[in-house]
C-alpha cells in the first residue's frame, strides 16, 4: 500500500461521504425531529435524479435540474407526510410499512415513466475533467461534490445554531410538547424539516446521477447507507451525520479496495459494534 493509493482512496472515500451526507443529513433531521423511520428516503434520491434528467433533456442547465428536482421532491415529501406520516408518530411499525409502501409505488412509477435502462446526468463541462497533482488525479466533479456538501453543512449548521428558526427547530426536537406550549408552530416546523430532508435527498440524487448514474434499484441500494450514517452519527445530530457520512464513506471505500469479498461486512459490522457500545450513536442523545 503506497501513499498514492492511500491518498486516492481517502479522496474517494471523502467524496462518497460527502454524497452520503447530502442524503443522510436530511434523514437524520427527520429521524431526530419526528422519530419517523422513512423508507421512502431512497426513493426521493432516485426520483430527484429522474426529475433533473427530464428537465435537462428539455435543454435546461445542470443547476436548473438540481433546483427542479429539489422543488418537486419537496412537494412530494410534504404530500406524503401530510396525508399519512404525521398521524403515525410513535408507531415505528406503521411508519416502516407505510413508507415502504410509498417506496415500492415510487419504484414502480420510476420504471413506468423512465424505463429500466440506466441513465447518466450530463455534467457541465466546467465540472468535468480532473486536476492532476503529481501522479494523482482528482476528478473535478468529486471535488465539486465535497464543496456542495460542505456548503450545505455550513448553511444547515448556521441555520440550526445561529438563528431563531434554528432554535425553534431544536426546541421541537428536544421536547415537542414544551415547544408547542411556548407557542412554536410544531406542525409547520415538522413539515418544513420533512420537506428539507426530502429536498436534500433529491439534490444528492441529482449530484450522484453525474457519476454513478440514475437507475432502477438505486433507491434501495443507497437506503441502508443513509440509515447506517444516521444511526452511527446519532439521530437528529448534524455533527453526527457529518462524522457518520465520512466514516461510512471511508470504510466503504477501503473495504471495497482491500477486502472486496468482505466489503459490506467491513462496513456494517463495525457500525453494529459502535452501536453495541453506544446504542444512540456517536453524537446522539437518548
Amino acid at each position: 500500500m503506497n501513499l498514492e493509493f492511500l491518498i486516492g482512496q481517502i479522496f474517494n472515500g471523502v467524496s462518497y461521504g460527502a454524497l452520503l451526507f447530502l442524503l443522510a443529513g436530511g434523514l437524520s433531521l427527520i429521524f431526530g425531529m419526528m422519530r419517523i423511520v422513512n423508507m421512502t428516503h431512497g426513493s426521493y434520491y432516485l426520483l430527484g435524479g429522474y426529475v433533473a434528467l427530464t428537465v435537462m433533456w428539455g435543454g435546461a442547465p445542470f443547476i436548473v435540474g438540481i433546483l427542479a428536482a429539489a422543488l418537486a421532491i419537496a412537494v412530494i415529501g410534504i404530500g406524503e407526510w401530510n396525508a399519512f406520516l404525521k398521524r403515525l408518530s410513535g408507531q415505528e411499525l406503521g411508519q416502516v410499512l407505510t413508507t415502504m409502501g410509498f417506496a415500492l409505488i415510487f419504484q414502480d412509477l420510476g420504471l413506468v415513466l423512465w424505463g429500466g435502462d440506466p441513465q447518466t446526468i450530463k455534467i457541465p463541462a466546467s465540472l468535468s475533467g480532473s486536476w492532476e497533482i503529481g501522479q494523482l488525479f482528482f476528478p473535478v466533479y468529486r471535488v465539486f461534490i465535497v464543496g456542495v456538501a460542505a456548503a450545505i453543512a455550513l448553511v444547515l449548521w448556521l441555520v440550526l445554531e445561529k438563528t431563531r428558526l434554528g432554535a425553534m427547530m431544536r426546541a421541537t426536537v428536544d421536547d415537542p410538547e414544551m415547544a408547542r406550549g411556548v407557542g412554536i408552530n410544531v406542525f409547520l416546523i415538522s413539515m418544513g424539516v420533512f420537506a428539507m430532508g426530502a429536498l436534500l435527498a433529491a439534490v444528492a440524487g441529482v449530484v450522484a446521477g453525474g457519476f454513478v448514474g440514475v437507475y432502477p434499484g438505486a433507491d434501495f441500494e443507497i437506503l441502508p447507507y443513509a440509515f447506517v450514517v444516521v444511526i452511527v452519527g446519532g439521530m437528529g445530530s448534524l455533527k453526527g451525520a457529518l462524522v457518520g457520512s465520512l466514516l461510512v464513506g471511508l470504510l466503504d471505500n477501503f473495504g471495497k479496495a482491500l477486502f472486496p469479498e468482505l466489503s459490506y461486512f467491513t462496513l456494517f459490522a463495525p457500525m453494529a459494534m459502535i452501536l453495541a457500545v453506544r446504542p444512540t450513536g456517536l453524537f446522539g442523545r437518548a
Binding site: L104, Q107, D108, P224, A272, A276
Partner: protein
C-alpha cells in the same frame, strides 16, 4: 376472549387442517406449489411474530435468518452432497448462532433504535451473501439445489414435497404455539406491555428477550432451509432489506401476536404477488398500496378486524 361464540376458533382450525390435508391432491401443480410457498413464508412470519407480536420488538433484519438457513442448504448440498438432516441441523444452528450474536448487540436498544440496529445487522448477512463470491457465488446465486436427500421418500414431485413442508409447518406451529402459551411466552407478553413492571416483579427481562430473539432466529432458519429446497435456488435477495420488510408486512397484515394471523398474512401476500403478477406488470404498485392500506385500514391486522366485527355483532345481538 371477547364475545366470540364458543368453539368458533376450534371449528375454524379443524376446517383449515382438513383443507390443508385433503385438498392438495385436487389442486393443479401450480396452485399447489403456491400453497407450499405460502406455508414456508407462514413459518417465517410466525417466527418474526414471536419477537414482534409477543415481545413488541420490530426487527428490520429478519431476512438474515432466512438467508442463513437457505445458504446452509445451498452450500452444503451443491458442494458437499449433504443430506436433509445435516442441512436442517446446520441451517437451524447457524441461524440461531447468528441471532445469538445479533441479539447481544440489538437488545441493548428498543423502539426505533432496535429497528435500525437490526437493519444494520441484516445488512451484514446480505453483504456477505452479495460479496463473498467464493462462498456464496454472489449475485449469481446458488442454482440447482436438489430436493432433500437421505429421507425415506424422494420428495421430487410437487405433491409429496407439499406434504413435507406441511409437516414442517405443523412442527413450527406447534413449537411456537407451545412457547407463546408457556409461562415463558406469557413473560414475553408482560415485557411487551410493561418492561419496568416485569423488572420490578423480579423477571430477568433481558434474558427473556434474548432467548425469544434466538428462538425466533432459529425458527427463521428452519423456514429458510425449506425455502432453499423449495426454490432450488439461493440468492442475496433472500436476505435483503426488502424481504425483511415484507415479512414485517405479513405479520402486520395478518395480526400481530396471534401466530395464525401472521400465517394468514403470509399466505395472502404470497398469493397476491403471484396472482397479480400474472395479470399485470404493475404488481409493485399494488403491493405498495397493500402496505399503506394495511396501516390505514387494518392497523391491528385482519385478525384484529375480524375480532372487532365479531365484537360488534355480539353487541347487536
Amino acid at each position: 376472549m371477547i364475545s366470540v361464540p364458543r368453539g368458533t376458533g376450534r371449528a375454524a382450525a379443524i376446517v383449515v387442517v382438513l383443507i390443508l390435508l385433503g385438498a392438495p391432491p385436487l389442486l393443479a401443480p401450480y396452485m399447489l406449489s403456491l400453497v407450499t410457498q405460502a406455508l414456508i413464508w407462514a413459518m417465517l412470519a410466525m417466527s418474526l411474530d414471536l419477537i414482534l407480536g409477543y415481545t413488541g420488538l420490530a426487527s428490520l433484519g429478519h431476512a438474515a435468518y432466512l438467508g442463513l438457513g437457505a445458504y446452509s442448504v445451498g452450500i452444503l448440498t451443491t458442494r458437499h452432497g449433504a443430506n436433509f438432516w445435516v442441512t436442517l441441523a446446520v441451517g437451524i444452528l447457524l441461524a440461531a448462532l447468528g441471532a445469538a450474536i445479533f441479539g447481544l448487540v440489538a437488545l441493548r436498544a428498543t423502539g426505533v433504535y432496535f429497528l435500525m440496529i437490526t437493519l444494520a445487522l441484516g445488512m451484514v448477512v446480505w453483504g456477505l451473501a452479495h460479496r463473498w463470491v467464493s462462498l456464496t457465488a454472489g449475485d449469481n446465486g446458488i442454482a440447482s439445489v436438489p430436493r432433500p436427500r437421505g429421507l425415506p421418500w424422494a420428495f421430487t414431485d410437487t405433491l409429496s414435497f407439499y406434504y413435507l413442508v406441511l409437516v414442517a409447518f405443523a412442527v413450527a406451529f406447534v413449537v411456537l404455539w407451545t412457547i407463546v402459551h408457556s409461562p415463558f411466552g406469557k413473560t414475553l407478553v408482560g415485557i411487551r406491555e410493561s418492561e419496568s413492571r416485569m423488572r420490578t416483579l423480579g423477571y430477568h427481562v433481558w434474558l427473556h428477550k434474548y432467548v425469544g430473539f434466538v428462538i425466533a432466529g432459529a425458527a427463521g432458519g428452519f423456514a429458510g432451509v425449506f425455502w432453499a429446497y423449495y426454490n432450488g435456488f439461493v440468492s442475496p435477495a433472500d436476505a435483503e432489506l426488502a424481504t425483511s420488510v415484507e415479512i414485517l408486512l405479513m405479520v402486520a397484515l395478518g395480526g400481530r401476536g396471534t401466530l395464525y394471523g401472521p400465517a394468514l398474512g403470509a399466505a395472502m401476500i404470497v398469493l397476491l404477488k403471484n396472482v397479480v403478477s400474472v395479470y399485470t406488470h404493475r404488481w409493485l404498485l399494488i403491493l405498495g398500496a397493500v402496505y399503506i392500506g394495511t396501516i390505514v385500514y387494518a392497523p391491528e391486522g385482519i385478525v384484529g378486524l375480524l375480532r372487532d366485527r365479531l365484537k360488534e355483532r355480539g353487541r347487536v345481538a
